[in-house]
């Protein structure tokens, strides 16, 4: 029981040192909204409607970068990770090295399958 109380005390101490006020919350919301809006502007406007930009690797990179920025704002501010102790931040984020490795691994594998084991019928689009 005393352990439980200590933990609650820890949580109380924790709210003192940092965090976001209401203004900060809405600021992050508008950043997320603006980034999403930008994605829509590119996808609907520049690509679909006006046809200025073509779909491809460059555009996909832009989308992924915008997504990662959004992910950063959600994790850092909404999930409050930025205000935790650095040891905890490292503890939670270091495991994603494996995901980076996994991305490289699977995409290379996919490329290989495309060129070496492609046996499904293809029909040209009229």
């Amino acid at each position: 029981m005393s352990h439980h109380n200590e933990n609650i005390a820890a949580a109380h101490g924790h709210e003192d040192h940092a965090g976001m006020d209401k203004k900060g919350i809405w600021r992050v919301f508008f950043i997320l909204l603006a980034l999403t809006g930008l994605e829509f502007l590119i996808a609907l406007g520049f690509v679909h409607h006006w046809g200025i930009i073509e779909k491809g690797a460059v555009l996909n990179t832009v989308y992924i970068i915008l997504t990662l920025i959004k992910a950063f704002y959600i994790v850092a501010y909404f999930m409050h990770l930025k205000f935790e102790k650095s040891g905890f931040i490292v503890c939670c984020s270091i495991a994603f090295i494996f995901i980076i490795y996994f991305i490289i691994l699977l995409l290379i594998e996919g490329e290989y399958l495309l060129h070496h084991f492609q046996s499904h019928p293809l029909f040209p689009h009229s």
Binding site: G13, F78, I99, F102, I103, Q118, P124, S126
Partner: protein, 245 residues
Amino acid sequence: MSTTTVSQLDKVKDGPWNGGKSPWNLEYGKIMMWFFLVSDAFTFSAFLLYYGAQKFAQPTWIDADKIFQSIPGIAESGQPLVFVGIMTFILIMSSVTMVLAVDAGHRNKKDEVVKWMLWTILGGLCFVGCQAIEWTHLHHQGFWFGRNPGTGLEGDALVEALAPYFTKDISYTAALQFANLFFTITGFHGFHVSIGILLNIIVLSMTLNNTFERRGTYLMVEKVGLYWHFVDLVWVFVFTFFYLI
């Protein structure tokens, strides 16, 4: 004998890792929620990565602009991305109301916690509803687990059935993989949202029962908040990989 000098060994160690207190200054349950979310992120990464690997392995793929074109009740086709835009906005909005609930919990304001939790639950329900409409629409078009509009057809009929969804070459396998992965991944995400709504309702009723008031802390709101933001985070990635790329 002098008593003022203390040997190095006898000094009381009071660093964060020397016991007696939480080294990360975090409550146990919150740390466990974080670790669960990290593992859950791995599950979603595996799903999305398999989607990426399939896309790389197929010479052609379904065009997102062509398959997601309807706004239910307004336009049957010709409006790519608009409906999913509304869904994304709903989920971001409900994430914000969740942070506001957590913020109110920090200040021990029960009424505000209740208000923002209600908005969050409403947002979650709207999102799941939109998801259901989207699934129904695709199901009517002939997409489902292991099935696409070309299933059971051959030759010209097959090409004709699948042509509306492709810009480049047409492949039955690619359409099938797309259908399987779309329903699996958005389904798994929708399942998470549903669980999140359930957790939010439980926490809301606990708030109304004054459980947290008596406990002296609204930490539980913070924990379900973490889960709820994670659901939003996953949607950001699902949205990019299914709808944009």
